[in-house]
Point group: C2
């Protein structure tokens, strides 16, 4: 665990950029350009953390979670489902939906997953790149629970512990494992980890 | 080669749904729910097809290409970049842009990649889930060529050969390798492969 977290923290320190407004830009390795080898290390750590949970499906949300989720599904040897933020023309059938407020984009949107891909006997691990206010994660939990499936927990790349999402979701009883936990970010670009 | 193509064709026959208007729904294994083990087989086949090309980066476009591209990057041991369809608040710096007409959504949109992640010495393999009219692929080629990097080719999951994109891009001299090639789809739900 220490090793993977150290690798990720080192990468954030080296390549992350702190932007005004508490935004951390990690688009060189996580959410614009992606480093699949790093994702394999992260997924192996998540497999260790959720080893006892009999995960049979991964759920994430487009767009930035998909790469890490797909590698995690490869390591867990299970399918990966991503919630969509828009209803495309080629989507058919019935959907579970949830409303998600985006603090980044300043709006409220609906997310969708097909009812065909979640059922009551599923054990779902949720994956996302960031956990801050917890809005996306809360929406994903809602989608799973509408289906009757079990949320076994959430695996997050980077949690901003100075925002309330992690505490809120953990207080609801969910196992949330964040591979890097940021306590604060300074206006000088400094990053302090937990 | 035959094996991977047969596995993918079998999966399309078994799980794909032909919808009105020439739409093939493969959201049980390719672009809503994803099968990472299948993607590894596909990526290994792409590595064989592009073995001589010294690929050092994968490029795709959000959303549906990301999962396959990320697994392909893992197999090629190189980073994966995805073009964005929207300019998010947390995107900074300068971008290469291209205009892409979507026949699925009936609009023209701009796609973006950061100039930081494409440079003249890169050898780029483009990955996407579908090739039909070739609009997205043409846009991705434009992004790469604006940077001076080389497009070594494109690896596509499913090509609809009854639409013109594949011919257009190949006539421009690019190596386009499609792992499944669909010649026609019938109103009765039948699918004929090349």
């Amino acid at each position: 665990m220490v090793d993977t977290m150290e690798i990720l923290e080192h990468r954030i320190r080296k390549s992350g950029m702190v932007l005004p407004g508490g935004v951390l830009n990690v688009d060189s390795f996580l959410n614009h350009q992606m480093d699949p080898a790093l994702f394999v290390d992260m997924a192996n750590e998540l497999r260790r953390l959720f080893a006892a949970q009999n995960v049979n499906k991964i759920l994430t949300i487009e767009t930035s979670g998909i790469g890490l989720a797909c590698i995690t599904g490869y390591i867990f040897e299970c399918p990966v489902l991503f919630a969509r933020k828009h209803k495309a023309k080629n989507m058919s059938g019935e959907f579970f939906t949830a409303r998600v407020e985006s603090f980044t984009h300043g709006n409220i949107s609906t997310i969708y997953v097909s009812k065909r891909f979640l059922s009551a006997d599923d054990r779902i691990l949720i994956i996302d790149d960031f956990l801050a206010n917890g809005a996306a994660l809360g929406g994903l939990i809602s989608l799973v629970e509408q289906s009757g499936a079990a949320v076994v927990g959430a695996g997050i790349a980077i949690e901003k512990t100075f925002q309330p999402g992690g505490d809120i979701i953990r207080e609801r009883g969910y196992q949330v494992e964040s591979l890097a936990r940021i306590k604060s970010m300074g206006d000088d670009g400094s990053i302090e980890f937990c």
